[in-house]
């Protein structure tokens, strides 16, 4: 059982980091970013090229992933979302835009990096065996880094000026604007930050799970699940959702493994029942 809990915690840490970026963008702009998974994949490929192919230090690669995605995210917000939000009569239109961008990034990634699964050398060799727990060192490092990034993100949102501005924006866009917060600038910053988080976690996880051009969509879907559990648009919700889903998967796959193919059915059924009781997830902001 210790092993199951350890698996769950590790999964949870990476899931939470994936969900953070998605929920940030949703909080600031009410945009469900379908392209989140594709941004993750792109981040993974940047690290793959720099760390795996050029053999530069991993930290440099990770940094490059983050910067690339931050720039890309900023551009997408400035050039695409801002325009569409202004022109469209219905809020949902941004969903089509996001889906279009997801397809577009899919196509670009496929053309640039090919269709194969890619992997990089392990960042730390060896496996920790302590009692019943078996955990490779690189997973411990990646899990630790993920937690570190999450804590860093929370601190930034709590105590820095941009963090406070973005929280104000998430609470009430119009009020924030009236109070003199440069809404457009912080939307841009927030989107870039959300994309950066996706790229960061992509780069981080390429050392464990590798990356391939087709996994963007499924990653987005998983991120949606976490956000639904925790509640959309709330940082705490994303983190809680990530850890809960990680734990559910880990425990479910062990406990239910004798019954065959039903772990995800059980998770989904539980989710439907849970949402029937708490329509906004654990701590989500209400919609509409």
């Amino acid at each position: 059982m210790e092993q199951v809990v350890a698996n769950g915690l590790y999964l949870g840490a990476q899931y939470a980091l994936i969900a953070l970026g998605l929920t940030l963008i949703f909080a600031l702009m009410n945009v469900l970013n379908f392209a989140h998974g594709q941004m993750y994949v792109l981040g993974g490929f940047v690290t793959y090229e720099i760390y795996g192919q050029l053999r530069w230090p991993f930290v440099v690669a990770l940094f490059a992933s983050a910067i690339t995605l931050a720039v890309l995210g900023g551009l997408i917000e400035r050039l695409l979302f801002r325009t569409v939000i202004r022109r469209s009569v219905r809020e949902e239109s941004t969903m089509l835009l996001a889906a279009g961008i997801a397809y577009f990034l899919d196509a670009v990634i496929l053309l640039l990096f090919g269709e194969k699964q890619r992997g990089v050398p392990k960042i730390v060799p060896g496996v920790l065996r302590a009692g019943d727990i078996i955990m490779p060192y690189d997973r411990i490092v990646v899990g630790g880094l993920a937690v570190l990034f999450i804590v860093g993100f929370i601190l930034m949102m709590q105590y820095t000026r941009p963090g406070r501005a973005m929280r104000a924006l998430a609470q009430d866009r119009i009020a924030a604007q009236l109070m003199g917060v440069p809404v457009e600038f912080y939307s841009l910053l927030g989107f870039a930050l959300g994309a950066m988080l996706a790229g960061l976690v992509g780069g981080l996880l390429v050392t464990i799970t590798g990356v391939n051009s087709g996994i963007g969509g499924p990653i987005s879907l998983k991120a949606f699940l976490m956000v639904m559990i925790g509640g959309a648009g709330v940082v705490g919700g994303a983190i809680a959702g990530g850890f809960i889903l990680g734990m559910l998967e880990s425990v479910g796959l062990t406990v239910l493994h004798a019954y065959g193919d039903i772990t995800y059915l059980v998770i989904f059924a539980a989710l439907l029942i849970f949402l029937a009781i708490r329509p906004n997830g654990l701590m989500g902001k209400p919609w509409g």
């Binding site: 949703f26 569409v84 889906a99 053309l111 639904m228 995800y264 949402l275 997830g281």
Partner: protein, 326 residues
Amino acid sequence: MFRPLRLAALAVFVLVVFLAVPLAIKAAGRTDFYYTLSSVALLAIASSGVWLMFHIGRINIGQGAFALMGGYVSAILVTSAGFSFWLSLPLAGLFCAAVSILIGLPILRLRGVYFAMVTLVLTEVARLLALALPITNGAKGITSIPAPGAIGAFGVTLVPAFDTFAERNLAFYYLSTIMMTLCFAALYRLVHSRIGKLFVAMQQNEELASSMGINVPAMRILAYAISSFLGGLAGAIFIAIAQSIYPSSFTVNDSVNFMLNCFVGGLGHVFGPMLGTLVLYFGWDLLFAIGQYQLLIYSGVMVLLMLVLPNGLLSIRLPSRRGARK
């Protein structure tokens, strides 16, 4: 109710779809269009259900679940219970409607992205159920489903068995387009009826609608049931064409595409999904010649389209509506 001009437009539509297009296909010898156009018609039916959900202010990315369910209901009824395809067709739709009422009771309380995300998960649930339930034959799918048989009444054959047609796909073309015409006509009537006005009220503000005495939960369920009925219908006909069904016959991708069809056509117009399906389906096909850049150009155009026409293709000619919507 129908004014002369509208009637004329309807006549033109019917003539084009049921006469001009088949004749043109025959003249050009492009018989592969029977299938592609049947596909468009069926996908448009499923998309129209999604559109109705948009109309009450809900983003439904779960239509693939009901298409799959409808397909399985029809396939199981035909192969295991010996039903005629023609009887299984409405039953598939009704089964989906019934299921959607059950699911809808809890999930229709959700709004915005929550509803969208839950419905997205529903498609996965449907696939996993199809894999896990014994009645669906699990991973092996159901294959060798017989083609639709004859319809007869009092000894007179009204519709001959599809296998007897020299051009089987022409029969499916007529079946699909007739169903599409009926569905959209019904939808048009619905949207322009009293209920349709209530739907619009709900789309704009559910609390306000509720305070005006509209039974909002019941109306939501009604819309969702109709939507799912349409999905099930389209799925069942598709399965009759493929004569086989697998858990992967309708996937999350289909669900997303149904939604995109509505967006591209325009959310403000009943016929939006029909146009959107046509454009997206053939857009993809036309780009095939480009080879590896197909997806790149397709998605690029989609993004550009959003920039230029964020309210859908049918918004081009209706500038005054924009104000009305605000």
